[in-house]
């Protein structure tokens, strides 16, 4: 059963099945910019650091302007400049993100804090995303993928973006956190509202309070009845501070982590999977080959994240001291956006950078950011993407675009996504 016909593809309408989803994607540029790369490539002639906000480069109203009146704005588009900004978290701090989001995310935010405080927090949560915990995530992955495919396999066609991609990573996060299945839709909406820039502050704050109230009950339950799940692991997380003894994670830190984790995992993995599917469906010969050579999947994922990742810019950094990058003087008090998507397309670092080429020699990218705030969930995201692609290829032979539906396209500025993934098979 396909709902694709209800999904608006008119200009500036955003992408989504629900009103809240169309609104959140519209605010981050869906519909206003489909392919940002020609504009970015043309701007490279001016240098690696541009004096403009990312939205300003596209002559769009800058969503942050109201909260930062008078701040000078820069965007790093070269690989070296974006990497330099992300590497030096003292000159380019996340304190500005805290100022903007503290009333929404509360005092404990991985994304809104700087080292050494950030590092202490990160060491407490990093084990939840490492090898030891991978099984706790994997436990929910394959059954969910098969359940979703069961829902449409008899139809011969499906809207994979909304009925597969959208319903998978947020489910996995919710289940690992101990959310009840009947509350899943609510959680998905809260997760979308918590994406930076995707909802007005009072709506984001309301979503945060709803998540907190819900999760406090789950945490209380797990303290009384620990289970073999991620939320129980987080509750027990501690760091050894040598002579000072061990320090246990606090409930407020757990809630802060969850409010960062929900939008990050639910939004980026969802959109990445949709982008990868559209990319493969546009290349039928490659897709036919992947059916038989599944070991190509990891390289396809890495290359898709480089070529058209789900996030064009890492969260902005606040400049704490006068500094110069690639000849551009950046004053204290300015804001700079590290445009990781632009960096990943830099011709000097990547040959034929504008082409999707999964056979290129592997090279580190900025897809999961860089520096102290490198994406903590990268390994979980890769595992989920591999599993989601394999499950489709296992059960739906000869996947191709639905000829009766408009061809989807990639769209969005800050957040990138496909307008849909309508397919038929067999």
């Amino acid at each position: 059963m396909s709902h694709a016909a209800e999904i608006s593809q008119s200009p500036n309408a955003g992408v989504g099945r629900y009103d809240w989803e169309r609104q959140t994607t519209q605010r981050t540029g869906a519909g206003a910019v489909d392919d940002p790369y020609p504009v970015i490539d043309a701007a490279r002639a001016e240098g690696g650091v541009l004096e403009t906000s990312l939205f300003g480069l596209f002559n769009l109203p800058d969503p942050m302007a109201e909260q930062w009146p008078g701040a000078r704005r820069f965007t790093a588009i070269s690989y070296a400049a974006a990497e330099a900004v992300l590497r030096d978290n003292t000159t380019f701090t996340n304190a500005g993100i805290r100022r903007m989001t503290e009333h929404v995310f509360g005092p404990y935010s991985l994304m809104g804090s700087d080292d050494p405080e950030h590092r202490q927090f990160r060491l407490l949560v990093q084990p939840a995303f490492g090898k030891k915990a991978m099984g706790l995530w994997q436990h929910w992955v394959k059954p969910r993928l098969d359940e979703l495919i069961d829902g449409f396999v008899a139809d011969g066609k499906a809207e994979l973006y909304f009925d597969y991609c959208a319903k998978f990573p947020v489910f996995v996060i919710a289940m690992t956190l101990g959310v009840a299945r009947e509350d899943l839709d609510k959680f998905h909406e809260w997760a979308a509202m918590l994406q930076i820039g995707a909802a007005p502050p009072d709506e984001a704050r309301k979503a945060r309070h709803q998540v907190e109230d819900y999760m406090r009950k789950v945490i209380a339950d797990r303290r009384a009845n620990p289970q073999d799940d991620l939320i129980s692991l987080l509750i027990g997380s501690e760091i050894d501070e040598g002579d000072a003894g061990k320090r246990r994670i606090t409930e407020e830190q757990i809630l802060g982590l969850i409010c960062n984790l929900l939008p990050a995992g639910a939004g980026t993995t969802y959109r990445s999977l949709g982008i990868i599917l559209v990319t493969l469906l546009e290349r039928p010969e490659l897709l036919a080959r992947v059916y038989k050579e599944r070991d190509l999947i990891p390289a396809i994922i890495e290359e898709a994240l480089r070529w058209n990742g789900p996030v064009l810019s890492a969260p902005f950094r606040y400049v704490t001291a006068d500094v110069e990058i690639e000849g551009v003087k950046i004053p204290k008090g300015a804001l700079i956006e590290p445009a990781i998507g632009a960096a990943n397309r830099e011709p000097e670092r990547f040959e034929h950078a504008g082409e999707f080429d999964p056979f290129r020699a592997p090279k580190p990218t900025l897809s999961f950011s860089f520096g102290a705030h490198f994406c903590v969930g990268g390994q979980v995201a890769r595992m989920e993407l591999r599993a989601a692609l394999n499950a489709l290829l296992d059960r739906l032979p000869n996947l191709r675009f639905d000829p009766d539906m408009p061809k989807p396209q990639l769209t969005g500025l800050l957040y990138r996504m496909p307008t849909g993934v309508p397919v038929v098979w067999g």
Partner: protein, 73 residues
């Protein structure tokens, strides 16, 4: 102590600072005979034989959080 060291050859020592590691796993891909991530999601050394010096230097340069350093005697 969050720092660990191995001597690869006479005069070439590699140090990892687990207190800085962000688990990008770039090092384990660039120099897969030298680095791995352990069950806590932090960089650790393998037993060797280790990767060549060029790979070790590239792994150090690629680390997002500068957690790997090459120490030449």
């Amino acid at each position: 102590m969050s720092e660990r060291r191995i001597t690869v050859t006479a005069g070439l020592t590699v140090a990892i600072d687990r207190g800085r590691c962000v688990c990008s796993e770039f090092c384990a891909r660039i120099a897969p005979r030298t680095f791995e991530t352990d069950e806590n999601g932090l960089v650790a050394f393998l037993q060797g034989p280790f990767d060549d010096e060029a790979a070790l230097r590239e792994a150090a340069a690629s680390c997002p959080s500068s957690a790997i350093s090459i120490i030449q005697a």
